[in-house]
Point group: none
Chain length 211, copies 4
């Protein structure tokens, strides 16, 4: 039952953090909401910040794991595979957020919740590993001329930027239309941003993006 107790703490903390912010959430808030005792809370987590860091790191890992998993089904050596991969990034991102809105909202509060060296280390290691796998997939696409050769940061901005902004709006209640409803548009925009269009590019513009 230790695991469920730990989960209860994480869930309670997530709800509190999203309601009041990490700093404004007291350990007592989490304690009451989770039903755990103060001592139990500190038995499972180093301190309040460690709970936030755990939520952040596990959320990132969950999303990244999902993405890598889906990418495995695609062929990195074909134009179609590369284009599908770009779409997959956007869609996996959007789907994950729509399925985990609370976690997504929390992640958008900022990575500054991970400030303890130990946690930072873990997060960065995880990020590096994830990034390495992504880059391994797209390298063939670049060398074969399917993708523009762009700085990583710009590539990221063009692919994820629109979806991220939309997600922020949706999570903030500033739009009602779910992300999934706009994923085709966001995916297409991502491809337009980073893909190298073929000769008769006209075909591309309206081309379907495989889901």
């Amino acid at each position: 039952m230790a695991q469920s107790r730990r989960q209860a703490i994480l869930s309670a903390a997530l709800a509190c953090f999203n309601e009041k912010g990490v700093a404004q959430t007291t350990v007592d808030d989490i304690r009451q909401r989770s039903g755990a005792s103060t001592g139990s809370l500190y038995h499972h987590f180093r301190d309040k910040e460690a709970i936030a860091a755990t939520l952040y790191i596990e959320a990132m890992a969950d999303h990244a794991g999902r993405l890598i998993e889906v990418l495995h089904a695609l062929d990195p050596d074909s134009r179609e595979g590369q284009k599908a991969a770009i779409g997959t990034i956007v869609k996996t991102y959007g789907n994950w957020i729509e399925k985990n809105p609370e976690l997504a909202r929390f992640v958008f509060l900022g990575r500054s919740v991970v400030s303890h060296p130990e946690d930072r280390e873990r997060l960065e290691k995880q990020n590096r590993s994830h990034l390495r796998q992504l880059m391994a997939f797209f390298e063939p696409g670049i060398s074969q001329g399917f993708l523009k050769e762009l700085p990583l940061s710009l590539f990221h901005a063009l692919v994820i930027g629109p979806a991220q902004d939309y997600a922020r709006q949706w999570l903030g209640g500033r739009t009602e239309k779910p992300i999934t409803a706009v994923l085709p548009v966001l995916s297409e925009a991502a491809w337009m941003g980073v893909g190298v269009l073929q000769d008769d590019a006209a075909n591309e513009g309206g081309g379907p993006v495989p889901d």
Copy 2:
């Protein structure tokens, strides 16, 4: 000199907020850095949150004002004017951030710093006003078929999304190339996302985006 004291407080607070986060910044931090006394601080601002709200609202107003100002030079009734306006939004955004990195960093911490009803009211009124002016500019573009007819949130995501993501990376030190260096790409992507391409779209792809 009261004004300069007020400014000193705002500057000190901005630096502190960016270094440690709003919640982690104590009034005493601001007091020490600004050189003001506790009493003086409370003479100029209602409380700590009011300082943050002031920074946020004034930053937003400054950026929005700049944007509206530049848009005034463009013709809302021509394709070129509409395209230039999209580019202008992106560029004004990027330029403002590069010129006001501290303020931008702070704004990215989140609008949740504005929670006092009085401040919220002021911010929302300001936002509505800004939005109204922007929409007034783009309505002709939509009705004349220069721009896709998109939900506002999606329009926002496609135009600002990439630039915002890039800016976050730049402010976070995750890329060294300044935003201004990638503005042409970001502008073009924005236009590809929301503009209606002409028949021979091929011309568009590499077409110059007026600065």
Copy 3:
């Protein structure tokens, strides 16, 4: 093996107490250092204080036992026996400390670690018993004029005081020369303080001490 576990706890506690002080030592410190589990710790001792009290009482008993044992070899009815006894007190004291520095250091932390009524009772009974035996030895010395007739507290101060002070300094690292090296001087001083000198002793004993 229960006994060794008990000993392990006592040793670990002694080390912790000397390093951080009794109050600053947590039960967890002792648990970790001893390798015992929390439960086991509470199986062997009533509480943390009982561990400290046990160490204190057993240390006192060990020293007192040694002293009584050595005194048994001396003749209480001769001047030589009395003088040797005074020296023996000082030397047994010094030797014990040099052989049990950790225990000695702990005892010097103060008898206030024994505050539980049950422990206090045990300690006082033990002390009374010890004192009774000592006094039985020295009574003949006083009545036969070998020793000055002094209040017990003053007698104690003159005999043990110098050695105790030297021991504190040595245990505190404030002197390197071992106690055993200065025991002759300390013993002689003790005898000068409490013994009645022969011959022209009159000049010495009652000499005026300028104020």
Copy 4:
């Protein structure tokens, strides 16, 4: 009034520390007894430990100051001056304790209350200064043969040891006779321990100490 507030805190803390021990005294105990607010308490002192350190250091300074002051009236170059100085050390010590029993009791709790680097530094500097002045006084006594040439630690033990032990007993309620009543005996013992006796001093100084 700031000074009296500070004094009130010190007095209250002293009483609490002696009643329950430093570790067992809560900040709230001191707050209630002193009448200060929590904030005021932390305005005047870094933390609870700083209060204890202040008491300790100021007590030591007070006693040392008194001693140095009295020594100034003596002649370091005569036998009488040296002998009087030894007596003065013992008597100043005893008088100070009898006049400041609470402070003395507290100091006997141990110097471990001074553990913060900043405080330690201050204490050690003060101790060094005090020691230097004392040694300056006794150097002539040693070089002119009025005092035995002893290691400093042994000198200290012989002079202060008996008085310290007596003081501990008196403060602990284990003897009723005030220290001042036994100061002549203690002073004489100190002189017997460290002074070089005249006349047939040869017999005394190098006399064998039976083991």
